[in-house]
Amino acid sequence: MTLILFVEQCLNGVQLGLMLFLLAAGLTLVFGIMDMINLAHGSLYMIGAYLAATVIEATGSFLLGAGAAMIGTGLIGAALEVSLFRQLYRRSHLNQVLATFALILIANETVRMIWGAQPILLNMPEALAGPVEPVEGFRYPAYRLAVIAVGAAVALLLYVMVVHTRLGMRVRAGASDRDMANVMGVDTRRLFTLVFAIGAGLCALAGAMLGPILAVQVGMGENILILAFVVIVIGGIGSIRGALVGALLVGLIDTAGRAFLPGLLRHVFPPTIASEAGPALASILIYVLMASVLYFRPRGLFPARG
Amino acid sequence: MSAPSLAISGLSKRFGGVVAVDAVELQLQSGELHALIGPNGAGKTTLVQLLSGAERVDAGSIHLDGRDITHVAMHQRAGLGLGRSYQISSVFAAFSVLDNLALAAQARARRRWGCWAPVAADAVLFAAARGTLDAIGLSARAETPAGALAHGERRQLELGLALASGASMLLLDEPMAGMAAAEAERMLALIASLRGKFTILLVEHDMDAVFRLADRITVLVYGRVIATGGAEDIRRHPDVRRAYLGEDQP
């Protein structure tokens, strides 16, 4: 019984972690290469979820919806990069914060104008709606399993791309030393539009896949954005490996904390205290993790810059 | 304020595979002007970083007037009288020259926590700052933002900050770097005027200047001290001629 619960929570944690990785991957590269704080990254996630919901509603195909959301959001990302972000790279962090905060307001309101203020429904594919029973006595939602599979595949693909291909080498060169990359003749302008578009597409994928589990609503990007920042700061800004490790850590610790911490506390403290402190502690666990990582390793677990 | 002495023993620092400072032994007597020379990359700046507390030492010890300061924090070393200048000018670019010096004078007076009385109205403090301003020959530039100074002037201010901060020992990292000949000459005269009042470690490239000015000279090559002595000893020292002057042995 407890073993089953444990496995189930671990799977949930991995699932959250992989989705966070999809969000964090683009964010950490943008941050690492261009030294750009993009608060509006979460808005791309929101836009992706809305696009997916709309296309799925129209076509009835989840795959089509997710694909369209990725392409659409990727294009929006590229357009934003070319029209706005380019002007911000050389600006101060303060200016970047102000501009991308403004973008959040604009994105939220635009979405509200188009889709209305009520949360909208994003249904999971019917084939995956039920639970599966991979082992006798252990049932797990098929959809969540699929999310894990897709998340793992994309994460692997991305990892291989960044670590082992020419394109990835250029991206990493840019992340660890922008001027050097320029000297080496990497066309950072085009490279960057591409990285940005891919990052946006991954946001959309996460949005589409999390849509049926969480709510698709205005402002959905804000809280998950902070989680993505936690991930990349823990992992080390600019490091894809760091983002992956950080995302899984955050996913597992957050999930496990919520599932098990209140129970654990009940063994130690009187029930009144445990029932107050348990949820509080569980929800701040990842921030405690982040603060401790920064305290001991002020540049994260895998610093990208020498 | 008597000029302090400095004793460096077995001091080492490595960066990855590079041993930048390698078991350096060095004694600076009170009031001495000691020159530190050596080719580029010899570890001179690193040594200054270690002495001022900007970098952690890997091994060895530093004693200031007999007191072990090896692990004392940078700002506390400054409080003990250790002042430094930087090879690459490090001034407060947004502040006027006078304000730069006033800040240093504030450090000297150990005044940090006042929340009410305006510093600008403090005649004593600004008199001290103006004194240094005159001494470094920047009186005409008092109101100029330090960021707008010419390179040579910035070097003067760089030294001025160390002077105004009330240091009794000066670690000067190539104060004449990049200066035009006339400017360098003036800087040299300024440093000469400090001799005896301060204990000075002068990192310098210009051999002529060093031989004219220094009481003693230490030669650093690949992080190691290869010779210490008076100008004549150093000039004649075969290892120095070979390593530093790039001379081949006949």
Binding site: H93, L94, E109, S283, P298 | L98
Partner: protein, 320 residues
Amino acid sequence: MTSALHVSARPGFALAGAILLLVLPLGLLAVDQPFYIVLASRILVFALIASSLNLLIGYGGMISFGHAAFVGIGAYTVAGLMQAGIVSAWLAWPIAMLAGAVLALGIGWISLRTSGVYFIMITLAFAQMAYYAIISLKLLGGDDGLSLGGRSALLPGIDLKADLSFYYVALACFAASLAFLHRLINAELGRALQGVRDNETRMEALGFPTYRIKLAAFIIAGALAGLGGALLANLTGLVSPSLLHWTQSGALMIMVILGGAGRLLGGAIGAAVLLIIEEVLRDYTIHWQLGVGVVLLAIVLFAPSGLAGGLAGLRQRRQA
């Protein structure tokens, strides 16, 4: 002006501002728009809070992304004390400031060991901890927050429940805080702080304990934000976790950047402009946030040093 570091007060300007703010509510009453007195009070409170953040961002170079935590703890302190029967402003507000200061000491103690974007992120992390801690504490009302039975008691005869009296109290707090900040930045600590902002290593080499200087500023800003939170709780009569949400910290940062970081009136101008833009647009359309976003974006692109910076630039150009 003898030195660039010294921010000289322009007595005429200050007097004009003071008179304007003193007669403003009377004018509003005269034209029968008492609602705007509440808005004006709100602006004053946020002007105070944003000015405290400006001390960190503008004068100390510490881009804190968690300022809402200090506002929140100040607000919750007042609400909690009121529930416990302590209604005196003379007791509750200083305790709120103390709470802000103590929280700032704790957060600053750890955060100030990092720098750059990591500092931004670690302050954010701590503010999130405060946010989720408050949400999960049922003692403090959890998600719903606490509603204050009334407003704090100041003096017999002054009834803070009257919007007019509250306005003047908020004005007094803002003016006192601004005057204090003005003295501070021209005093030893303020100049040292600006030195640290400009060149921390050099400050250390000169003998300044830079870490402690930054921590001192952080604590002062925390205390002032705590006072702002106390006022805010009184103004709205309700404290809720949304006070501590990261978008609140973001909005405070926006005010500072908008008004001009490192300018004495930067926080106040930013607070006034942002809140007025919101109010005006809200009257026109339910999609007012879109307008706010567009205006902010335009300001970044066309007045990157903030409005106060832009104004000062104009003045200099005219004088030149």
